[in-house]
């Protein structure tokens, strides 16, 4: 009896296939088209302020200074700095269209990283780091092989070339994919080390911060801690499993779908605009050739055609070398930028009326700000005070103002850290503000909330009441609520409180 022995691939074979399989680099090309443009958006916003942020005539604070290493990078005079900055802008644009792709990416990412490192306060963020990583990996990839000016010029020289001839080892795209796995795994570790993340407090305070752009949905969500708590666990679990499941053919779509949703949510809840744009551009490196084929097939099956599909592209003169043309345009752009920046005169030092003047402040206002050291009020130590009946993760999950006999009333007081050890009291008052009951509890400095529970039973007659929160003898918050009679219960049992 003969038996066919099928040899199992070794780990080395698997790794070779994983990193060195040859594919047409559609994914890397898509990332190349979108990522530099997304990275360019914040840099264009800074273009009028190059003198202030990155030159000897401004206030650059290098990343190295924040780490106590001093000024490691050279800080240039405004003229050369503006020239290099405009060269960076041009390189990012030419990377996106794939013109002198590798050189543009190499120059662009070098200058992009340099300028980000120069301004650690107002430019460098984690999205800059992610963009630098991705652009570095695009530089060593063959992302210019498809959908690029370089490819267009190459096809002019060799009209018989096919897509298959542009296949290249897939390892740069694999490293980009692995980068995301590392980022999410590292972010999960950070969250695990931040205890307040899993109770929702950290997200709440982030959503209420106005350090980023508008985030109205975030402000709404910030008041619902249980929602943040659930989101915290989902995020952390997804960040950990991403590295293991994103390679699976089907799970990949789930992982990337959740990731895209997560990044879009950071846009509306935290006011982050550039960060999700860069991450979603980077996600394009996960596209496989078969995905592109499927999308193309879908487009072909539609009855519409792109308006520019039949457009005759202009033919560049054959004698013009691409690199020389690129250099000429880059120089022209740089010189124009230097002139434009000079004319802007951002600090107004060359105005005919002289330098700008500082605004005088009312001495009373100035003295009040300088010398007033007002102690923290008791009411500012408390974030909120809510009533409800259900809890999730130890936090009130619903807001109620009406209760029936038989229900458990939960009163939750959220505190703003830091606070000292406190004694917090909660008193039940009737509609005429006569105190019915009162009890308190210690809230030690590490506690972020205190709970008071009331069994709404026959001892509390139907009517209107208040729950009043006190700290250090001061009234902090007052919440009205009403009790209605449960028709099935026995009315007016002995020992009825109030009214």
């Amino acid at each position: 009896m003969s038996r066919t022995v099928k040899s199992q691939p070794t780990i080395l074979d698997v790794l070779k296939t994983f990193f060195f399989e040859e594919q047409v680099p559609f994914g890397a090309a898509l990332a190349r088209i979108f990522l530099p443009l997304m990275a360019l958006i914040p840099m264009l916003m800074r273009f009028p302020r190059v003198r202030e942020l990155y030159t000897t005539d401004g206030t650059p604070i290098q990343m190295f200074e924040l780490f106590g290493q001093g000024e490691v990078l050279p800080v240039l005079a405004p003229g050369p700095a503006v020239m290099l900055y405009s060269l960076m802008v041009f390189c990012l644009v030419s990377s996106s269209i794939g013109w002198n792709t590798r050189f543009s990416l190499a120059t662009g990412v070098t200058l992009y990283t340099y300028f980000n490192l120069l301004d650690a306060v107002g430019t460098m963020t984690k999205y800059s780091v992610i963009a630098s990583h991705l652009m570095l990996l695009l530089t060593v990839s063959s992302c210019g092989n498809v959908w690029s000016v370089d490819e267009f010029l190459r096809r002019r020289r060799n009209p018989n070339s096919t897509f298959a001839s542009r296949a290249a080892p897939v390892w740069p795209a694999r490293l980009m994919q692995l980068l995301f796995a590392f980022i999410y795994f590292g972010a999960a570790i950070t969250k695990i080390q931040t205890a307040a993340f899993f109770s929702g407090e950290q997200m709440r305070y982030w959503m209420l911060s106005n350090w980023n752009y508008e985030n109205p949905i975030g402000e709404l969500m910030a008041m619902w801690a249980p929602l943040l708590l659930v989101a915290a666990y989902v995020t952390c679990v997804w960040e950990i499993v991403f590295a293991f499941l994103v390679w699976h053919r089907r799970a990949r779509f789930v992982m990337l779908g959740v990731g895209a949703t997560f990044h879009i949510m950071t846009c509306v809840t935290l006011g982050l605009y550039v960060f999700p744009s860069i991450c979603l551009s980077g996600y394009l490196c996960f596209a496989r050739p078969e995905d592109i084929v499927a999308v193309r097939r879908w487009f072909r099956n539609q009855s519409f055609s792109l308006p520019f599909s039949r457009l005759a592209l202009p033919q560049p003169p054959r004698w013009m070398p691409s690199a020389a043309a690129w250099s000429m345009v880059a120089c022209l752009f740089a010189v124009t930028s230097i002139e434009a920046e000079l004319r802007m005169d951002i600090f107004g030092t060359r105005r005919p009326e002289g330098m700008m003047e500082l605004t005088e402040i009312d001495p009373e206002v100035a003295k009040e700000r300088i010398y007033s050291e007002q102690p923290l009020r008791e009411k500012d130590k408390v974030f909120s005070f809510h009533l409800g009946t259900a809890s999730v993760g130890g936090q009130v999950a619903n807001r109620r103002t009406e209760f029936e006999h038989g229900e458990l009333l939960l009163a939750e007081c959220n505190l703003n850290p830091p606070h000292e050890d406190m004694w917090v009291e909660c008193s039940l008052q009737d509609e005429h503000q006569h105190q019915i009951s009162s009890f308190g509890q210690f809230v030690t400095r590490e506690m972020l909330r205190a709970h008071f529970t009331y069994q709404i039973d026959e001892r509390i007659a139907p009517g209107s009441y208040f729950l009043v929160l006190h700290s250090a003898g001061e009234e902090i918050a007052r919440r009205p609520f009403s009790v209605t009679r449960d028709e099935t219960s026995v009315a007016n049992a002995p020992g009825v409180y109030g009214n």
């Binding site: 060195f20 040859e22 590292g186 402000e219 330098m355 605004t359 500012d380 050890d421």
Partner: protein, 221 residues
């Protein structure tokens, strides 16, 4: 793909993955990343904590005749990530000196004696719009800003006095709000001997010995 280029690619892949792994391990175990700016490129701590109070900085210059000026960019502050000026993102206070020097040297004004840096803080629930405030907090909004002197600088921006920031001050106050701890802190005497020679076990005759050093508490008082 030639053999050499495959080896080169393999080397690049190996080094790159090792660097990323070092970032994760270093960040998880808190080793080997301190005082190295490049670690920022391999550590993914995008979520590193948010405070319960919002803050802004005010730079107030004082002249010898008792007039006060707002030391802020008359050409308009650069707002990098929203509608908050760049200097307010300087949580490490590294930019204070350069910021003052830059504005003072690029504007016309009377001579200043010094520049006060004042921190303004308020609880973050007051960032909610009015409609949400009414829905979530019964009663009118009663916002108070707390002002706290953070530093005093000369007109070149050189820091002459630097104080703990308001948030740190609140933490210290919350800990000091304990009579026993306060009493024990008063009893302690920190010392720092600079002239002790461990090889001979003797004190130098040129200065104070171990135990005779500076009393930091007294010094700071």
């Amino acid at each position: 793909m030639t053999r050499a280029s495959r080896w080169g690619a393999g080397l690049f892949i190996g080094c790159y993955l090792m660097i990323l792994s070092a970032g994760i391990i270093g960040h998880t175990l808190k080793v080997g990343l301190a005082r190295n700016a490049l670690s920022y490129f391999v550590v993914w701590d995008m979520f590193c904590g948010w405070q319960a109070y919002d803050q802004r900085l005010h730079f107030i210059a004082e002249t010898s005749d008792g007039r006060y000026f707002d030391v802020s960019e008359p050409w308009g502050a650069f707002e990098p990530f929203g509608d908050v000026g760049r200097v307010h993102y300087d949580f490490s206070s590294r930019m204070l000196s350069k910021h003052i020097d830059h504005i003072v040297s690029h504007t016309a004004h009377d001579p200043f004696d010094c520049v006060y840096i004042v921190q303004e803080c308020w609880p973050k629930q007051h960032n909610l719009p009015d409609s949400m405030w009414e829905k979530n907090f019964c009663g009118p909004r009663d916002k108070v800003s707390y002002y706290h002197l953070r530093a005093i600088c000369d007109t070149q921006g050189v820091v002459m006095n630097l104080y703990p920031d308001w948030y740190q001050q609140q933490k210290l106050s919350s800990i000091a709000d304990n009579p026993r701890v306060r009493h024990q802190a008063r009893q302690s005497h920190s010392s720092f001997g600079v002239m002790y020679n461990p090889s001979t076990g003797s004190h130098s005759s040129h200065g104070p010995g171990l135990g005779d050093g500076l009393d930091f508490q007294a010094a700071t008082n």
